[in-house]
Subunit: 483 residues, 2 copies
């Protein structure tokens, strides 16, 4: 005994000794009421200082694994070894899971995605480029906030969110032209939780939702998980096809609509101001609640500012706006917001509380302080300049190398490419991945199983050199496949 | 125009000027292609420096709200004012909500709870005492981690969780005597998300769950929200009544069980090691998956260590352990974990990804570094000493002042008091709150609408002086009510 002790890592030694002894006790190697070696003795056996053992024994006692008998030394406490129930039953968990769990796994693209080995040129990500993060301002924001109200930040917060952040975001949305009268904000763990909570609250009278086709694949996944039938409306150069939309609306009723008006995922298209107004008129006429995905609104590289649908709706309360800085600032901070009618938010708040109590106060307060310190403006200037450069470079490479029939993307962190009907980008992907280049096949964004001839190219985290190299390989391979 | 500009806060002035102009443009006060005042002119009008205006104009252009005509100055960009759709439709959201949303609101105790005015002595909280938080080690942990991999922490992480934290927690559970073979961990936004995700995954063949009565009210809420019928089994001094449990199990089938074996909420009872073994034998015989709530396991003040049910189950895979440090360390960090059979975790991971993508990496990495630095041991020593003192003081005050028939609480941050049947603690609460003292009426913890004669006293955030003062008032008022 005591001959298999190893210092495993850089944690304090006395803790490692305590943990080692705990294990011996729990596994029954040291029995209840058995005398432990003297501190000097064990120190020599484990080759650690006597004081270390003294501290370790004190900790053991503290944790209820040992007791001292006056002048007789330390003993193993009774009942502290883990007596296990005789039979150790193996359950087949598959038989205990419901359809929801199985569907969630089935629709989990991260478990189906192509793994990128080291050195692979990957156009699959549309996450921000870490090199742009200004860590110093981030640390500053953390320390600023901690010094103001550190202890408060570390205790329970409110389901609705961190008040200073809510107030900041209300002003932020006001500056986007949103009429805030009768509206309120709920802070969520990013866009995804906001979307999930909203879908959990909406009645499914018809079980139907209408949206752009193609659209954000996470949205498709969550709509399916909530049991919605999805009707997708084709895209035009300036946004959703209104005639098609009107036709669909005349044919059946919809419980809600989901739109990504700016830098639409995956096509990167920005819906024109005129179209936004027409769209909102249609939704109003058919009385359909609109879920607006504020995705990438900040990543505008050219053209003039476009107001969100919620601003277009004026005093109307039919739009639920889902906001997030994840694609602009720091995705690691899981903070997003739902801006909607106050009465609706009141109910969403209760669902949020039942789901996660509240969003990390640390995340919320750092984000608030970071914004409050005026860092967003500085950061956006830097990020936009860099992404704009990459965006134009990627555009140029696509035009030079790829035999596409359609190419779209007005900004943001990705471009969308369509080949002729009949061309299969998954075959292209197989051929390219063998040459160390991967991208996202477009079919996952389609609501009707179509889009086999499309693909999304995310460029935010690919170097200029790899952008041209990768796109050349994709283009040449595509030409070969076309024969 | 320009006469209603006020410096509102301490954000950079040029940003406030930009936001002010944005508003004028969006509200249509400044029209498309209208010429903006010269920088000198506006500087005087707003009483800010010319350079401030220059920066503001540059930002406006950057954001697409303005453009410059060579040598002619700045102009408002076209289409940037928010044209709103004529009709502004008011929807009645109540008619668009489903039963889940209404039930979540109805069961939301935070919306029903008694508000504590300033100066009220409140025994309702069982959150940790902020004064005990060691902010310096917390900041240190943040800075340590940021310096190691700051940029990585701020980008997207993994649904399963932050690897170093997962590894730490696996070792942590191993030291509690859990057999980790075939098991895995999913990191969640605290206990609540873990519980919610598990309930979303389990099949509801019978739609029934069995648990202790009383039990954790959040658990009752979420079980109801997931449509479970709850069977509560009465408590004894050393934990759940096994005879009652056995009888109930023989009468009908259950989809799962939920237990709080240590410092049970609300009774504060620790289930004896013998009972844990008998309990697991019963669950194994009836093949019922067990959800174990590791609540407050660390807040042991006396007696020897007791292994979790999951350790008692040995190599069995029937226990799902939900862990959290929220009651011990920092609730503001929304981090908990689900330790369970690896195949089950594989499915839970997909649900987690669909709900919140992943838990805040900042929270996870700070917690990891804090633990890794060996702070938990130091903190627990300090916290236990302080809470133990308060625990004993509260116990003494209850014995001195309160005419209870039963008093329980083996540790943790609260005591549970039962008066004679027929006594109503809500009447007591009304009478006490008029004297500035509040507590949690016990009925909210009962699965069968009973417990009107019980109450929970949380002492973690009440000063010694207020503990005795408050409990004396409760006791005297109770005696009066008893007549």
């Amino acid at each position: 005994m005591f001959n298999d002790f190893k210092l495993m890592d850089d944690r304090p030694v006395y803790i490692q000794v305590k943990d080692y002894l705990k294990r011996l006790i729990i596994k029954g190697a040291l029995q209840a009421n058995q005398r432990l070696p003297s501190t000097r003795e064990l120190g020599m056996l484990l080759n650690v200082s006597r004081n270390t053992v003294i501290s370790a024994y004190a900790e053991l006692q503290e944790d209820g694994f040992a007791y001292t008998a006056q002048g007789k030394g330390s003993y193993v406490a009774a009942g502290s070894s883990s007596v296990t129930a005789p039979s150790s039953w193996q359950m087949d968990w598959k038989t205990r899971l419901n359809g929801h769990a199985r569907l969630a796994e089935e629709l989990d693209l991260m478990k189906r995605g192509i793994r990128a080995d080291k050195g692979t040129i990957s156009f699959t990500s549309i996450a921000p480029d870490e090199k742009l993060f200004d860590l110093d301002n981030f640390k500053r924001a953390f320390l600023d906030r901690m010094s103001v109200e550190g202890d408060v930040l570390l205790n329970y917060g409110y389901a609705k969110g961190y008040k200073p952040l809510i107030d900041y975001l209300l002003r932020y949305m006001d500056h986007k032209g949103v009429d805030l009268k009768g509206k309120d904000i709920l802070i969520t763990n990013g866009f995804t939780e906001g979307f999930d909570i909203v879908l959990s609250a909406l009645s499914k009278k018809n079980g139907t939702v209408i949206c752009e086709n193609p659209t954000h694949h996470t949205a498709i996944k969550n709509l399916k998980l909530h049991g919605f039938d999805i009707t997708g409306i084709p895209m035009e150069r300036d946004g959703i096809n209104l005639r098609e939309l009107e036709r669909a609306l005349s044919e059946q009723a919809y419980d809600c609509a989901y739109f990504v008006p700016s830098y639409h995922n995956p096509t990167g298209i920005v819906m024109s101001p005129e179209k936004r107004i027409e769209l909102m008129k249609l939704m109003t006429r058919h009385q359909i609640p609109v879920i607006e995905d504020g995705f990438n609104e900040e990543l505008r590289y050219s053209g003039s500012h476009v107001s969100p649908l919620m601003a277009t709706a004026g005093q109307g309360n039919g739009v639920i706006y889902l906001g997030s800085f994840s694609k602009v600032l720091f995705p690691g901070l899981r903070v997003g917001w739902v801006l909607a009618d106050r009465e609706l938010i009141y109910y969403l708040e209760s669902i949020k509380r039942a789901r996660t109590i509240h969003t990390s106060t640390i995340d919320q307060s750092i984000l608030y302080q970071y914004l409050h310190n005026g860092n967003l403006e500085k950061y956006l200037k830097k990020a936009r300049a860099e992404y704009k450069r990459k965006y134009e470079w990627t555009l140029q490479c696509c035009k030079e190398y790829i035999p596409y029939t359609q190419l779209s993307g007005d900004g943001g962190l990705h471009l969308f490419v369509a080949f002729g009907e009949g061309f299969h980008t998954r075959e292209l992907l197989d051929a390219c991945s063998r040459q160390g280049v991967i991208f996202t096949p477009g079919d996952i964004f389609f609501t009707d199983g179509k889009g086999q001839h499309t693909m999304r190219l995310g460029f935010s985290r690919v170097s200029d050199e790899n952008i041209s190299k990768g796109i050349r390989i994709i283009g040449e391979t595509a030409k070969q496949l076309m024969g």
